[in-house]
Amino acid sequence: MGFLQRPVVVTADINLNVVALTAVGLLSRLWQLAYPRAVVFDEVYYGQYISFYMKRIFFLDSSGPPFGHMLLALGGYIGGFDGNFLWNRIGAEYSSNVPVWCLRLLPALAGALSVPMAYQIVWELGFSPCAAMGAALLVLIENALVTQSRLMLLESVLIFFDLLAVLSYLKFFNSQKHRPFSLSWWFWLTLTGMACSCAVGVKYVGVFTYLLVLGVAAVHAWHLIGDQTLSNVCVLCHLLARAVALLVIPAATYLLFFYVHLALLCRSGPHDQIMSSAFQASLEGGLARITQGQPLEVAYGSQVTLKNAFGKPVPCWLHSHQSTYPVIYESGRGSSHQQQVTCYPFKDVNNWWIIKDPRRHQLVVNNPPRPVRHGDIVQLVHGMTTRFLNTHDVAAPLSPHSQEVSCYVDYNISMPAQNLWRLDIVNRESDAEVWKTILSEVRFVHVNTSAILKLSGAHLPDWGFRQLEVVGEKLSRGYHESTVWNVEEHRYGKSQEQKERELELHSPTESDISRNLSFMARFSELQWRMLTVRSDDSEHKYSSTPLDWVMLDTNIAYWLHPRTSAQIHLLGNIVIWASASLATMVYALLFLWYLLRRRRKVYDLPEDSWLRWVLAGALCAGGWAVNYLPFFLMEKTLFLYHYLPALTFQILLLPVVFEHISNHLCRSQLQRSLFGALVVAWFASACHVSNTLRPLTYGDRSLSPSELKALRWKDSWDILIRKY
């Protein structure tokens, strides 16, 4: 009965600063959130995915993992959005069924919470509340961050998780000194891992922050190893805990995103084509409707369509038709003049092939069916023309170093049929494996010449109807997807006569079988496609290069009111941008100076403030560097908003540098006061700039052309002025 003896006490520590900052943060981000009731800039892009989620249609977006899209869709779910909106152009009015406020709520909340988090981070780094307050206020009044978080876009969410990861790591690191393995220690450690994986889950660039946190954690762990007051077991426990929290948990969380994603999106849709047949068959509708109930094992006499696994330039099926190769090509080389074999990107009756046993004549399936196994020799008979798939030592039309593939026509000119193919199942588990529909990836090796049936990817000229060229690749070593085929549609052939068979080929397939890919297989395929699908890089009016970002040499016009000249721009607070860049430079120079001095055993700073200075630099300047520099190496089209995560870290560095200068470089009280006054003046000017640019941030006020012209402080800024 302990609680009777001692009173139950609840002590609450409320930092009013944080509360106040949260309140103003919310106010600045949520005010008139639904206002331009029109599609603003990239909302047009993310919106379509929200619709897909609402309708539960499968899609593939190579720009990032699904977590960010899911968060946006969550907003739509809360608002009861049914997904019925055509996201086709920027500036289109939202119809009444679109819950704009709800859709924009989550990014806005994330943006608002970044403000108190900036405070917390600087505080946890060991700097004064004043500096912390400064950092938070700068984040609050940074126009670009406000614009970006008030719309249905992902950057603010990404920044939120980036900051959360850093903050929770700092909390964890600080509790490490006092109470390792306590509850809060575990909490913050786990939260670090979770936040990291969320950041990665929102956008791939989140991975840079993750690596930064991992790097800092690794350095700290290395120090821990060197700490000889700890026992070996204790060190081991520490290392294990970090490994689990920072490696295993993020990986698991990342998988979880995909699990939810795939669980949600169960219907087939426009992006199916990119995926493999097996993946498509696992979606409702689409291919599943066709393949549902096909026999699993391919047998002699089976009628199949063969799809190439490579899928580039387009997914296509092995195809043949009545036309023959021209006797002489344009280049002057000759051909065999036999029937063309191509790869055709559309479903067609000419895509059907029959698997034939070379030792027998029949083209129907026995009862019971005799399955085809790995290593068997087969012939492939084209269903409609009953000619045999053949290759020989004749140069292919467009790839002269490869063999031509044809359907054999006997012209009685001493060119015998070479139509035996050995079946090679690539993804077999044993050598006696049976050829399975959809699941087996097979290669066809020509028995006479060892050539492999391959899609060359070139488009044939007009005589080949612009279909894709299929060749026999000699001497091909190694595995390449363009040589791999799989059976997509499949049925057991029943009709002996050609006429009946043609009828049979024209009829849709039926019979029953269901196939389920495991989650991991679907995940790995989806992830692989996301990383490899290249959207053609297009030039954009507002694209920019990383060099333009540092001094804000560019802007993006997000939206223009259809009638008035009210407009929204992604345009930063230039005072903050410039001084943040300056602060980074000052930090780097000071750091180098101190480092050299320390090397000479001159210790300008007391040890603890040196450590704080280094940690702040590693996280803030490091955060800026890892979020900025990699863009120089990226091939894709870049926009100003890609710089925002880096900018946020840079802003955090600003008060840190100020405080350092005031504490360590100002020698007298007078200097300190002067410096303080300067900082206040500077901050006032930043506020002023922010207020001046406010109409372009919120787009709530229509400005006159002269006012707009006055706002164009840099020639490179593109501010829209209506010509009346």
């Binding site: 290395w222 190893i225 060197g226 000889q228 070996n232 060190v235 002269p400 170093h401 090679d424 090796v445 060892s450 050539a451 492999i452 000699k474 001497l475 091909s476 070593r477 190694g478 390449h480 297009s538 030039e539 009016k541 694209s543 050299l596 090397r599 000479r600 055993k601 120089f632 190496l633 091939e635």
Partner: protein
């Protein structure tokens, strides 16, 4: 103990930090207390500190006296402990002798042994303050000292003969290694007597040097120059064509060039041997490395042909070796050997970079090494601040001189020679600006003269500033149906460079190529009739409505009438196609006119009026009399840009024909100087800027490059042009020589060209591409050479294929009954290397953690782990630098790109196994035969490697080219 303290004289200059920690842990307290003063030769002292006092006394007593004995003894001391003398002695004389060593000496060997690297390697450099020689030479010359040391140390002095024997043994070993290497490389060097693989490129380029004809390649010239020189010296006359792999050399002398490459390739083995010896001070390690490289089939094959790789690898290894040597001289800065090795490092860096840009990686490695070196120097607190500043200044200057200035000077010098030697017009002309071409004898611009400033009425050609894109061009063909307005095409054409473009070049050839400089040749673009009928057929195919068809037929008739009866003006201005084109022809000529008037500016009565920055002009196509025109229509390929066409009749068009001309580099006032001024053409009505998208038009555009008007006013080179040919009878001609670029400009131009040739990639990737592509560059110089290229037949490999030896490269003999050469590593060697890297990471991290945990390692283990961390670390770093960047690279990569990295990984293998076996022997020291483990292990590794080579030979007798086999069954095949 106090006795020893008194000897702690000169403190090592730049003792690495970590080493200090170790000292602290291992030295007696007295000693460590003495440290702050100026402790010294810690190695020796430490070593001896554990000896019985009497023996220590004998060792040390000699020191204070006279200068002469001291250095020798020091060296002796330093080398002996960890060092190869013993292993060597044992190794050569048979390990069995070892147990007979008296107990006292064994004690020295075992316990007194210093961390070898501490004693000698990187850090150890400081330990011999006044020694006359550098560590490097010491490594070789160490023999005599060994014996002396033995005499000093052990009561039983070996016979003086053994000293000589050991010295001779060292030299003999080096000679043996070199001999083996040469023997393997030169064995059957003349086979096959036909062109193999890339010999077709590099041999040809060697011939160009001999013939002094100008060519262009994406690699710097040094390697090819050396090949040319070797050919020249060996009597090759440059007449062989090197047309395609498989061509027989017949009577041409090719052995000189092959011999030169094989010579450099053979030197790799002794270089690797010496480097490992220097890093680990262990002879078995060095031998192991040498064996790995000698018996590796890949290295062997790559060294035997006329390729850049042996030259490149030679310079890389030489740079590495001289860097390591110079590191070991660090204790005697500014001595002759120090300068020698430092400048040799610089020279080799220049060589590496001058052969291929892959040389950048070794530059990075040396740079990193230099930085850390300086950092240690800087942290040496034994000197006062002022003295440090002076010393630091001297060090810094020396390094800048030798490692930056010297290589740059040499690199530039190679280019100077390159341009000097290649003075005749050749296949590379078309890639360079006309100003440059004017330098080449035989080129039609040589000694030509043109007016200097642009005036109205001038007939000009306009060339895009982006290299290899070409001249603004127009011809009578129309844009086909459905692509913008059916107006005259404006496009660019060019030599097509790589991959798919190379194929296209073959197609374009009939239309364009012949001789890029042949101004006389009129292209076959005038086949208007054929193309028109083609359009008709197209349209029929598409099944247009009858009315549409009628209209089109009508229009076509009108067009035909218009074209063939030019004097009579057609009823409507029918705009035609505009393109661009690299080769010179009449359709590249434009007349520059004022926008307002159509009067003939060439009228002698009018004064000459120069075109100035900001003027509004019209460009009239000379052949078709149509104006350069743009409008709000999407361009044929780049949908976001506007289409550019030729429009108007006899120069009369509309306001969409007006362009504002802007000079980007306005250092020649506001006038426009031929060849030098960079201009932009801004379309007046739409505000877009004329540029080339660099995309190739389909057949209807003759596969020339698309010209567009881009609304995005980004200042890329695509949208900048310059004026090349210039004809204006009213202006005085000046000689082009005045405009000839200076040498720095040529240098810059050729480097820019190397970059722009690999166009479609963003600039950040280009560097990598340059490193990865040599095919492309070679393609350029022989792009006209169609025919089967065996390399087309292979999948280009991926970086991850390489270390596992996944698939090789066909060097020769793609057809069946032929002499076959296949580049593939010896699987035993390569897999051993791979395993070693894994093992190294494992053992390295274990050691590092142990040190960080403050574990007390016995002296011997400490020494070994030091070798592992420092020496091995450097090699691992080298391997990573030469391997990982390839993962970032774009497209075309080949197996042979891995070989520089492979050299590093072989050296690492040598050090790793030697160290591991020593550790193993040490940990089993209680067993009598433990010492043998090391010897047996090394021997079995050596034998295994040699045996695998023999096996490989036999296997290669039946080269098995099973298309499905993953290809580990064939080595260098015959």
């Amino acid at each position: 103990m106090s006795f020893k303290v008194s000897f702690s004289v000169p403190r090592p200059a730049a003792t690495p930090h970590s080493r200090r920690c170790w000292e602290l842990q291992f030295l007696e307290p007295v000693f460590s207390r003495a440290r702050p003063a100026r402790p010294s030769r810690s190695v020796m002292l430490r070593a001896t500190s554990r000896l019985p006092a009497a023996r220590a006394a004998t060792t040390l007593s000699a020191q204070p006296r006279g200068r002469r004995p001291a250095p020798r003894r020091r060296r002796k001391e330093l080398h002996f402990p960890g060092h190869p003398e013993l292993p060597l002695g044992d190794f050569l004389a048979g390990r069995l002798a070892r147990p007979r060593v008296p107990a006292g000496r064994r004690a020295i060997l075992r316990r007194g042994r210093m961390p070898p690297a501490v004693g000698r390697g990187l850090a150890g450099s400081e330990l011999r303050p006044r020694r006359g020689r550098c560590g490097s030479q010491a490594a070789r010359a160490v023999g005599p000292d060994v014996a002396a040391e033995a005499t000093a140390r052990s009561p039983k002095r070996p016979a003086p003969g053994s000293r000589r024997f050991e010295a001779a043994g060292r030299w003999a070993l080096l000679a043996l290694v070199t001999l083996m290497s040469f023997a393997t490389r030169f064995h059957r060097l003349d086979e096959p007597p036909h062109v193999c693989w890339d010999e077709t490129h590099f041999g040809k380029m060697g011939s160009y040097y001999i013939n002094r004809t100008f060519f262009f390649d994406v690699h710097p010239p040094l390697g090819k120059m050396l090949i040319g020189l070797a050919g020249y010296l060996s009597g090759y006359d440059g007449t062989f064509l090197f047309q395609k792999p498989g061509d027989k050399y017949e009577h041409h002398s090719y052995m000189g060039m092959r011999g030169f490459c094989a010579f450099l390739g053979s030197l790799l083995v002794p270089f690797a041997y010496l480097t490992v010896l220097e890093l680990s001070q262990s002879l078995p390690a060095a031998l192991l490395t040498a064996a790995l490289l000698t018996f590796d089939t890949g290295c062997l094959t790559l060294s035997q042909y006329i390729l850049l790789d042996p030259i490149l690898m030679f310079f890389i290894m030489a740079a590495m070796l001289s860097m390591v040597k110079y590191n070991s001289c660090a204790n005697r800065p500014f001595s002759a050997p120090w300068w020698f090795w430092l400048s040799l490092t610089g020279i080799n860096l220049a060589g590496a970079l001058g052969v291929k840009f892959v040389g950048l990686f070794i530059i990075l490695q040396v740079g990193w090494n230099t930085l850390s070196d300086l950092w240690h120097l800087f942290g040496d607190c034994s000197l006062s601040m002022v003295r440090t500043q002076v010393t630091m200044g001297k060090h810094l200057t020396a390094r800048i001189l030798c490692l930056i200035v010297l290589p740059m000077a040499l690199y530039t010098a190679t280019y100077a020679i390159h341009f000097m030697v290649l003075s005749k017009s050749g296949p590379g002309d078309g890639f360079f600006s006309s100003a440059f071409q004017a330098r080449l004898s035989g080129n039609n611009l040589h000694n030509a003269s043109i007016p200097e400033y642009l005036a109205y009425g001038s007939v000009i050609t306009v060339r895009n500033l982006r290299m290899a894109i070409g001249y603004l061009h127009s011809h009578r063909d129309l844009y086909p149906e459905g692509i913008g307005a059916r107006q005259q095409q404006v496009s660019e054409s060019s030599v097509h460079l790589c991959g798919s473009r190379a194929k296209l070049s073959a197609v374009t050839e009939p239309a364009g190529k012949k001789n890029p400089n042949n101004t006389e040749r009129i292209p076959q673009h005038r086949k208007t009739l054929t193309s028109l009928s083609k359009f008709k057929a197209d349209k029929l195919d598409r099944g247009l409505s009858n009315i549409g068809l009628l209209l089109i037929v009508l229009w076509l008739t009108v067009l035909i009438v218009m074209i063939f009866s030019l004097p009579s003006p057609p009823p409507s201005p029918a705009p035609t196609q505009v393109t661009t084109y690299l080769h010179k022809d009449y359709n590249n000529l434009w007349i520059i006119k004022k926008h307002s008037t159509n009067s003939d500016p060439l009228d002698p009565s009018l004064p000459v009026e120069f075109v100035r920055h900001g003027d509004i002009i019209r460009l009239e196509h000379k052949e078709t009399s149509r104006n350069l025109h743009s409008h709000y229509h999407e361009a044929p390929l780049t949908r976001k840009h506007y289409q550019v066409t030729g429009y108007g009749i006899n120069g009369t068009g509309d306001s969409n024909d007006f362009w504002r001309i802007e000079v980007v580099n306005r250092k020649f006032e506001n006038r426009i100087k031929v060849l030098r001024s960079q201009i932009r053409l801004i379309h007046l009505a739409t505000g877009c800027v004329l540029g080339s998208s660099g995309k190739i038009l389909p057949k209807w555009g003759w596969e020339q490059f698309e010209v567009t008007c881009s609304p995005y006013l980004k200042g890329t080179l695509n949208s900048i042009w310059n004026v090349e040919d210039h004809i204006n009878p009213k202006l005085p001609n000046i000689s082009l020589d005045v405009l000839q670029p200076s040498f720095p400009e040529i240098l810059l131009e050729s480097h820019m060209l190397m970059i722009w040739v690999l166009w479609p990639l963003p600039i950040w990737w280009l560097l990598y591409e340059l490193l990865g592509l040599h095919k492309c560059g070679s393609q350029i110089s022989n792009y006209g050479n169609s025919g089967l290229k065996p390399k087309d037949n292979e999948f280009t490999s991926k970086p991850w294929h390489w270390p596992i030896n996944y698939q090789g490269l066909h060097f020769s003999g793609i057809s069946d009954m032929d002499f076959r050469v296949y580049l593939l590593g010896n699987p035993v060697v390569w897999w051993l290397n791979l395993l070693s890297i894994g093992l190294y990471l494992l053992s390295g991290s274990i050691v590092a953690v142990a040190v960080q945990r403050g574990a007390r390692l016995p002296a011997e283990v400490e020494g070994l782990s030091w070798v592992l961390l420092r020496g091995g670390g450097q090699l691992l770093f080298g391997w990573m630098l030469h391997y990982f960047p390839f993962f970032l690279m774009g497209r075309i990569l080949y197996f042979h790109h891995y070989f520089p990295a492979m050299l590093f990984s072989s050296m690492l293998t040598g050090i790793l196994w030697d160290t591991l076996l020593r550790l193993c022997a040490w940990s089993l020291a209680c067993f009598p035969l433990a010492g043998g483990i090391h010897a047996v292990g090394i021997l079995s590794l050596l034998l295994g490697i040699a045996y695998s080579r023999v096996l490989g030979r036999e296997a290669s007798a039946q080269v098995n080219l099973d298309p499905l086999g993953e290809g580990l069954d064939s080595a260098q095949g015959v």
